[in-house]
């Protein structure tokens, strides 16, 4: 057992490091650069430039085949690149959905001509993609979407509303799942398309979140007309295509990073005097710290187990399915305790180093427990896919969509 690279991995890491050193600035302080990054008004432009550089060097999508600008590398090489890149001050995060989910779906269903047209601009950051799946009445239950696409000659006309669309406000293209036949059961009447976000009738409105941020959007479709050539997969087989997209989402290995964790909470506990001395000497605080440390390390080493499988060219086991279930509640509970340690001033956003950070995490965690699969849906997934327990009763399974209550 070791945490070492294989010779091949080590060579790749060396190469990546040299390239990054030559092309980017090393981070001095993780949190500071995190803030710097997010406050930059030209962030998208900078990110596009960095993406182009990466793509030209062949690092933008290491696992993609060479014909699409990748290098046909293994997933572990992709992880190694990301590990190394995370030490540098580079603008990220605008292309993950497009390259991680949309373009792979295009690769499965689009024509060679379309791929020639769209893959490279996406890879080079010239065009940003988003994924138009969730709807107000279809969150956890994605297949319950109502956005209609109706055939009109050689075109399709889309009407409806999507929601929780990350990055729709800066995206150029999107893949969209629509209902093309409401007279069949819900999973059967769906069809997928791609479209330009500039198509007439598409309107994007940001959603302000409880945290104050607005990373998500509502997208309204009013008589949006697109040609049949933008269909992905067969009519009525949109669910199969959507599963392709979602499957690619799952390949991502990672945790929200840059947040405050046990180290910062210990620091706070050392610096805070409770009634009977520093908080770090209080056994209740110590008990909590120990439990969260065990969770933090457990998640870290669970990730290492997944990486080991990738490194050996194996398919990772189901162990990483636990990550968000654990991390989200931990973040919420740690935030609450951090605030408690500061006493009545724990509600204040100023004065204390990291106070605002813990408060922000306490608020963000309420959303993190929901976004990308609620705690409840994730437990269903673990129970069904890992433990082989049966699905809950599905009353809507064989009923025509337009006959559902």
């Amino acid at each position: 057992m070791d945490f070492n690279d294989t010779p091949e991995e080590a060579a790749f890491r060396k190469e990546v490091r040299a390239w990054l050193e030559a092309n980017a600035t090393r981070k001095s302080d993780d949190k500071q650069s995190f803030r710097a990054r997010n406050d930059d008004p030209n962030l998208l432009e900078k990110a596009k430039a960095w993406q182009a550089k990466k793509a030209a060097a062949g690092y933008a999508r290491i696992t993609w085949p060479k014909e699409y600008g990748g290098r046909g590398g293994t997933p572990i090489l992709q992880v190694i690149y990301q590990q190394e890149e995370s030490s540098y001050l580079v603008p990220l995060g605008f292309f993950d959905i497009g390259l991680g989910m949309c373009i792979p779906t295009m690769m499965a269903y689009a024509t060679p001509e379309q791929l020639t047209r769209y893959v490279k601009p996406a890879l080079y950051g010239e065009e940003v993609w988003c994924q138009l799946f969730s709807e107000p009445a279809a969150g956890s239950d994605v297949a319950g979407i109502r956005t209609r696409a109706e055939r009109d000659g050689n075109d399709w006309v889309i009407n409806g509303q999507k929601v929780w669309t990350s990055g729709a406000h800066y995206s150029d293209y999107g893949i969209i799942i629509t209902r093309t036949d409401p007279s069949v059961p819900k999973h059967q009447g769906l069809t997928m398309f791609f479209l330009s976000m500039k198509t007439p009738g598409v309107e994007v409105r940001p959603i302000k979140q409880m945290s104050g941020g607005a990373n998500f959007n509502e997208v309204f479709f009013t008589n949006v007309r697109i040609p049949d050539s933008q269909r992905l997969g067969k009519v009525g087989e949109g669910w199969k295509a959507a599963l392709t997209t979602l499957m690619n989402e799952r390949l991502a290995v990672g945790l929200p990073s840059g947040g405050l964790d046990v180290d910062e909470l210990m620091e706070l506990a050392r610096d805070t005097e409770l009634e009977d001395g520093p908080a770090i000497r209080n056994q209740q605080v110590r008990g909590k710290l120990a439990e969260w440390y065990v969770q933090q390390q457990g998640l870290r080493f669970t990730r290492y187990r997944t990486l080991t499988a990738l490194s050996k060219g194996q398919t990772p086991g189901p162990e990483s399915s636990i990550i968000k279930i654990v991390a989200a509640s931990k973040m919420q509970d740690m935030g609450a305790l951090a605030m408690e340690l500061m006493g009545p001033a724990g509600i204040m956003k100023e004065e204390v180093p990291n106070a605002a950070g813990f408060q922000a995490q306490w608020i963000a965690a309420a959303g993190f427990r929901i976004a990308g699969g609620t705690d409840e849906i994730l437990r269903n997934i673990v129970a069904e896919r890992v433990l082989g327990l049966p699905q809950d009763v599905r009353v809507d399974k064989d009923v025509p969509f337009n006959k559902l209550k």
Partner: protein, 374 residues
Amino acid sequence: MNFDFSDDQKLLKEQVRKFLADKCPTKVVRRVLDGNETHADEVWKGLVELGVPATTIPEAYGGLGLSPLELCVIAEEVGRAAAPVPFDSSVVLATEALKLAGTEAQKVKWLPLLASGEATGTVAVAEGPEPPRPRNTRTTFGGGRLNGKKVPVIDGEAASFAIVLANTGGQGERAVSLVLVDLEQAGVSRRRVETVDPARKHAELVFNDAAAELLGAEGEGWRTLERLYDTAAVYLAFAQVGGAEAAMWMARDYALQRQAFGRQIGSYQAIKHKLADCYVKLELARSNAYYGAMMLTDDGADLPLAAAAARIAATDAYDFAAKENIQTHGGIGFTWEADTQFHYRRSRVLALGLGGPMAWKDKLVTRLEQKNVT
């Protein structure tokens, strides 16, 4: 066995509930949250008209002279509405502090103004990010002058006066005294501070040779504060119970309305059992709060234990209901437009204002040890 509120008290509760449902719907909370008002003044004025701040003030001082039980049922309704009004600061803390430790002159001066709504008060204890203790109280009082900084002070911007914990030079717990200071004077500057709950505004108060006077005997500040906090813990427990119940029913109503996979989400055990757990915590909190209320009226010998138990249970119930209300709502529950956030934010303000659950658990066991000895 008569462990319940009287019919009259229930009627009062209903009256306050109806008033708040009518005049303080969630859009009022949102207005204060999003805006610059120190509080929702029209709601406050309406509560004044209903006699809320006068409830427990003796008739001799212009109050209604009702029992603490009346204020308990009112507190529950204020909590249910998450009303952005100076209830906890003025009606509970400042009023009770004056009743507990004020001189006749102080009572004569301030209680009638509180009762009539012409003045509001607050209590200023914390001095930044540390649980307040006598030894870390740096604000000083001497020669009639108050100097130092208090933050966060709930409703400190709008309050007419504050009761301030200040160092008066004694030893140990006797180092601190309570001091009454008129906030409308040159020696006082106020600044709004941002908190996790913008619907309840907090301030920083800076005292620069401000004229002030002792409230209660010198060196008795800490002991008085503990008694004041025990009383306040019971009233706030009712507010927390009200808030927890509101959050629970909000979640339940959404669970009936929202469908997933062809069924109401409220038919799934993950949601049902989560809400059942809310109910369990709520009933434990309510029952403990009732006993706390009784100890406010009775001889009160068991108040210290009853107050601690009520506070711990109510804080737990409100925390849980507030966060699982968001969770039950899913994505929509995390938007700025959603009403779920009011309780999530308020639950923390109420949880920490008088000291957090860990400190109260320690206090409870200390009191249990003392009780078992005697």
